[in-house]
Symmetry: C2
Subunit: 333 residues, 2 copies
């Protein structure tokens, strides 16, 4: 299956204690599609200025990314500058120049309107909705957003959330959107905001601590279902529904050196959506695997500056790291 | 196997947004031994004053805890008061009255000197060492400590660390002890401070995020070992030793309501050490299971005020929750 991803293609200037890059290929759609390219053929819908270098176009095209939806118009490409302190948790945005992105109105081609797997990157929710309205029958729609839109465009955000299947946000955003500190309770509140179906799922990212996946349709639940016969055999052990949550936890990959956290979240989304598009399987088992795939891509992303590592993964790297996650988490009882 | 646990038996006064208790049975040795009692017969080495109530003694004795090492002397029992804010992460200590604990000099009985599994709770490292020196051939020694001793008695702490097998500390303590922010690097530094053997292990607790278990002898490693034949068959995929860390991650149990976090760390230690003492197995697989057992006990502990929940676990509760951890973390690839 193909994957359509809407977001930004940008020039990033990144300073970290370990090095810096200037005007390097960046933006949510770049990271997301590079990560997804290891599983599927992603198409980017985005806009760049006439300063966008052929070399950067070649990087994306070289990873078999469909660039027919990448508009090139007069003006400058979206530019972002950021600086990380030593602990890599706090980032200072040095500048944000929207440039050609400011007036971006995505119009999908006939081909792209047929998209089955769609990822709406973190842009204005009204734009996300405008894109989604052009796609008559998507199979699965994922969405990323941020606290800025919760504060500035909550109405639009709620409109688009009601039409998407999987929301990917971080823990502070989940708390802000739900107005609830406890993430289990927050997950219940937010899940109810999404389109209700077999496919409804929520991923809450927790930075270095990994993620929680919530879905009403995961077969696993913290208190697993009991059969009637089990309950009849041992009524005292019957579980109450009070803790009836379906949740899966995946830790962050333990890295000795994080070089540049930029794009980790977008790489996760790309790996996650790409994996689902490749397998064309949105069963609970596949959702969990997709979380592992996304986390693997995010862990590679931060190992080098900018998109460098995502451009150069070798055969077997991803598979090996996905197995690493199993070594990290599994135990026998 | 029996388990000897040294620590405090105290009267706790706890205020939380959900309720409060006054002069309730508490202290590290109480939480630890109550948790351990579901797996082994723990013996407490501690001191109480003549105000220590028969009813509280009965609570401990009723869980088959060996109290022959619990000295009762003239004076008042160690008393602690604390208050939690709504987010349960910040705690204010209202008072600490050491009382009879101030001059506590643990002297072990001949029976207790034969202890095989020993847990040295969080007391002055010089005292921990004094206890350990009375036990000629322990099979496994675990230790808890805190940042206070790193600042006030680092020399003593390093002396006792060099004689113990398993250190259980939290992430900020690990960073302070190692002077290293990255936990993977910190784990390497701290592990080298411990007694070096097959049994050397380090557990870094991360609050609601769970824990990391490090050991040179876990069979799992982030980059798993490859056999000579595997490398010969596919030399390009040979793993480098750069990431040669052996680590296991266990998340925290997702709780909708945390009523009182007091004693969670001690309950973890009790469940962990108790499980090892029961199985008398310190293989990597058993260490991981013991982490699950400890985390299960800690998750029960916080469900009610004080030690209430630990006093009243039903048959099957712990086993069911240990299985829950598997549902929470496992996936197929």
């Amino acid at each position: 299956m193909n994957l359509l991803t809407i977001g930004s293609v940008a020039y990033d200037s990144i300073k970290t204690p370990f090095g810096s890059v200037d005007k390097a290929l960046g933006g949510s759609a770049s990271y997301c599609s590079l990560a997804a390219s290891y599983f599927a053929r992603p198409a980017i819908v985005a806009v760049v200025g006439d300063d966008f270098a052929t070399a950067d176009e070649k990087i994306l095209a070289g990873k078999n990314i469909d660039l027919t939806g990448l508009q090139k118009i007069a003006g400058k490409t979206f530019a972002w500058g950021g600086e990380y302190s030593f602990d890599m948790n706090s980032r200072t945005t040095l500048f944000t120049e929207l440039n050609v992105f400011e007036t971006f109105k995505p119009v999908l081609s006939e081909e792209h309107k047929k998209a089955e797997y769609v990822f709406l990157g973190n842009i204005h929710p009204a734009l996300q909705l405008e894109v989604l309205n052009q796609i008559p029958s998507p199979k699965l729609v994922g969405l990323d957003t941020m606290n800025f839109w919760m504060e500035k465009a909550l109405g639009d955000l709620k409109k688009v959330l009601a039409k998407i299947d999987i929301l990917i946000i971080n823990d502070s955003e989940a708390r802000e959107l739900s107005r609830e500190h406890n993430l289990i309770k927050a997950a219940k509140i937010i899940s109810a905001m999404l389109k209700q179906s077999d496919k409804t799922a929520l991923i809450i990212k927790r930075g270095e601590y990994g993620l929680l996946l919530f879905s009403q349709n995961l077969s696993l639940r913290v208190h697993p279902k009991q059969s009637e016969s089990e309950i009849a055999a041992s009524p005292a052990k019957a579980l109450t529904p009070r803790n009836d949550i379906q949740v899966f936890n995946l830790p962050g990959y333990p890295l000795k050196d994080v070089i540049d956290p930029t794009g980790a979240g977008d790489s996760f989304a790309g790996g996650f959506m790409g994996y689902l598009a490749r397998t064309d399987d949105i069963s609970p088992a596949s959702l969990k695997q997709a979380c592992v795939a996304g986390s693997a891509l995010a862990s590679f992303c931060v190992e080098k500056l900018g998109t460098e590592r995502l451009q150069n993964l070798a055969d077997g790297d991803i598979e090996a790291r996905m197995k690493d996650f199993k070594h990290l988490t599994h135990f026998e009882l």
